[in-house]
Symmetry: C2
């Protein structure tokens, strides 16, 4: 026993932190890390390595960086390289422009809290080109990753209105950043189920059910849509987006569009429409609705998760509220300059005629083409296994197959105090080294079981992984039937 | 008028965000930015440039990066440079070690939420060497800057205990990160005045006064000490630190030691003692007290503010609480890998005999020597001006002189609805381009006036700045006397 009575005990700890959960970095992932250490120490296992299919960590799964991006970043980090003839002229031009916009011409300086002005302008240009609709650079707030800007934004909603806590609608299944952050912030989580039978589309009747029930216990303020979907991989149709916008208008909700997978669309016939584009093209009153759209350097074709770059575009926010938003981020000083510079290379890639254009396009297209093949490979493989059904992975980087578990497995899970899908995922991990996240970490219809796997392992490894998975699954079914 | 009723209005905005203030990026700094734009557009001013003496932004003020640091960062960012013979072998060795510890050997991968294990180990080694006392790498949590880890830590304290909100003691004057974050988190701010007459040391009687008053309205949980001081530049004596530790023990407070300026000590006779070292050497019961110590890449000799790297070492935290702390940071995914890599170069600099050792030491020592001269130059200059008194700048990067303002100036300020010191600082900015932060942004004894200036402008520019300052001050006094 310590002779000192602790000032910070479980009784005096932030109660919201006690209850929050973040499955993507939860017990399964911790166990995966332990197994990796055991393998390093030559502990005998029925597999040689852990395959981390648990999170969208592209480079960790062998994806190679885009040369142009890293050239620009090396140049801004160590400017003597600007004299190195092996770096292409367009990379140098980008680097010089970024350095010129840094105080003291150094990435070691603080920037304005919402980011470097020219990079915010480049983001606005990118959005304008994407949507064919004007974008104002002053509506762009850059952060250290989309997670960072999403959290900075959600914080604004913390408020008791008419003695009710704020509520925020999120999809179920959802990316646990949302559930964890809402729990931490004391904002009521209003889950609406995605419709698995319609390839995880949004059903307006379900949105209506969810908000009607929620109004008894909280004050609904905002609606989160993840498109393309995480963990579900759907790409919303334009018609579905229009329905959602009309619903949000009727219910006076702030639209939060998590569009970080906007470059990851694979399925024939699927196309990404930004909420901003659809809402603007719908005209009044919809084009005057409040909307925040989030984007990241971590996904797409670049997959630069570790550099931490992202942005939000906020439109139709009241000017006083916007001033408060800007003030609130100033206490976090500024986002990482390298993350900002990375974002710049993504929204301002090499242009036709520039020396890096051909190689950049080839690297980008090869990567997206390969992801497209893997998206199909994963869904097809799961659909060939007994008791599995997997929707088409239209976009993003994940499959979220449904799995029918034998009664005996469900009982065995109960005995161990585990959710049945977590029980399955642990067995999978211990027997094959494959790490996936059980559906219970994202939410699912009661009585159904799923898991999320990424499509990110390189094609050869993915093939092996799916084969091992199928073998494990056959044995598991045999064992528990 | 918008045809849409906003979901997020001033009435429904997070009330804590409405009231928070962050002077270091407040109205004066916004005005300085406007003036810079006006100068670009050739608006006539009585000066040619804005001198941003408002924040500790080293590189922005012309400080040059340390070559070794940037070489390592360029190498990890763009690994083909590992074959470039112009990079030294020790920088390459550091870069290879970092890349090996990154999943997929890429800085584009996510890391564990508390940071990369080997970098946490190197931080622990650094602390062990600094203090001569063991450090456990598992007590090190890396973040995207000290600001980030300080906020992550303070969040744990949000809790109503016996129906009282938590309270946290902070120095007055203080760095506004603390006041802004406590306001945002709804933690009661317990200000204790630093003793200007004792070169901004801590007076235990004043700590006692502050906590006794605060116990009537909140539940005091923690004590923040900034050493070396920001904005006040003092370096605490070992005796003073011992007194503070005894006070915190008696009052059952979690010690939060903001030690980001640990490499910035200039005054003869002044020495940095870490709270961990002193508390450990005091033996039981003090060595079992809970302590969090914060460090950053942004200050010291490196001044890499924009890269966002920092850490906290937490000792004697209960294991359950620590598990909750680790869980709570997982929803923020991970700190920027480049910031982590930067931290690695600082805690593991080139060693004697390695190729970069001599140049690294020269760059580091020249820089610290120059800061030492500037610290003295600034205090001496202010002390030579009428109505100024400035304590010795023993450490950190700031002077916080006291200034006596004429009655007429105080009246003029009142008429404009400004604090008198803010009025002075605005006049200074508009007339000379020099941007400093008024003492009211940091807190000060009622009826006294101060401002904070950095000592960071390069020596020639600093000399000019102080001369202009003196001229302005003489005119100001003349105008209002």
């Amino acid at each position: 026993m310590s002779p000192v009575q602790p000032s910070l005990s479980m009784d005096t700890l932030n109660p919201n932190i006690k209850v929050l959960e973040y499955a993507v970095r939860g017990p399964l992932v911790i166990r995966a890390g332990e197994i990796e250490k055991e393998l390093e120490q030559d502990v005998k296992k029925p597999f040689a390595e852990v395959i981390r299919a648990n999170n969208g960590d592209c480079h960790a799964m062998g994806q190679v960086y885009i040369t142009f991006i890293r050239q620009v970043l090396a140049l801004v980090t160590y400017p003597p390289l600007l004299k190195d003839p092996s770096f292409p002229a367009d990379a140098k031009e980008r680097a010089r422009a970024i350095l010129k916009a840094c105080r003291g011409s150094s990435v070691g300086s603080y920037t304005d809290s919402p980011g470097i002005e020219i990079i915010r302008r480049h983001v606005a240009d990118y959005i304008e080109t994407r949507d064919g609709i004007p974008a104002d650079w002053q509506n762009i707030i850059i952060g250290s990753g989309a997670t960072d800007v999403i959290r900075k934004f959600l914080k604004l909603l913390i408020c008791n209105v008419d003695n009710n806590e704020s509520g925020c609608m999120i999809p179920i299944p959802q990316y646990p950043l949302y559930s964890a952050t809402l729990t931490e912030f004391g904002i009521h989580q209003i889950g609406y189920y995605l419709d698995e039978s319609r390839n995880w589309g949004l059903d307006i009747a379900e949105l209506q059910r969810a908000i009607t029930e929620a109004r008894k216990v909280c004050y609904p303020r905002a609606l989160v849509i993840i498109n393309p979907g995480n963990p579900t991989g759907q790409v919303l149709t334009r018609e579905n987006i229009e329905e959602i916008i009309k619903f949000a208008y009727k219910e006076k909700l702030f639209l939060l569009a998590d569009e970080v997978y906007q470059n990851n669309v694979y399925a024939p016939g699927s196309k990404f429409y930004s909420f901003k584009k659809v809402l603007t093209e719908m005209g009044e009153p919809y084009c005057s609705m409040e909307l925040a759209s989030f984007m990241s350097c971590s996904k797409g074709f670049m997959g630069e998760c570790g550099l931490r770059g992202g942005y939000v575009e906020v439109i139709n926010m009241g000017p006083q509220v916007k001033a408060m938003f800007l003030k609130s981020i100033s206490a976090m000083v500024c986002p990482t300059v390298i993350g900002q510079a990375c974002l710049d290379t993504i929204v301002r890639p090499p242009q036709k005629g520039e020396p890096s254009y051909e190689s950049f396009m080839k690297e980008k297209n090869d990567l997206l083409e390969s992801l497209k093949l893997r998206a199909k490979m994963v869904a097809d493989s799961f659909n060939s296994m007994e008791g599995f059904s997997c929707n088409t992975v239209q976009g993003a980087m994940y499959a979220f197959p449904r799995i029918t578990l034998p009664e005996k497995a469900i009982e065995a899970a109960k005995k161990e105090g585990k959710q049945p899908d977590a029980f399955y995922a642990f067995e999978l991990l211990e027997n094959t080294g494959i790490c996936v996240i059980p559906g219970s970490g994202f939410g699912q219809q009661p009585g159904t079981y799923h898991f999320r796997t990424t499509i990110l392992p390189q094609p050869d490894k993915l093939k092996k992984m799916l084969k091992k998975f199928a073998e494990f699954h056959a044995q598991f079914i045999k064992k528990y039937s």
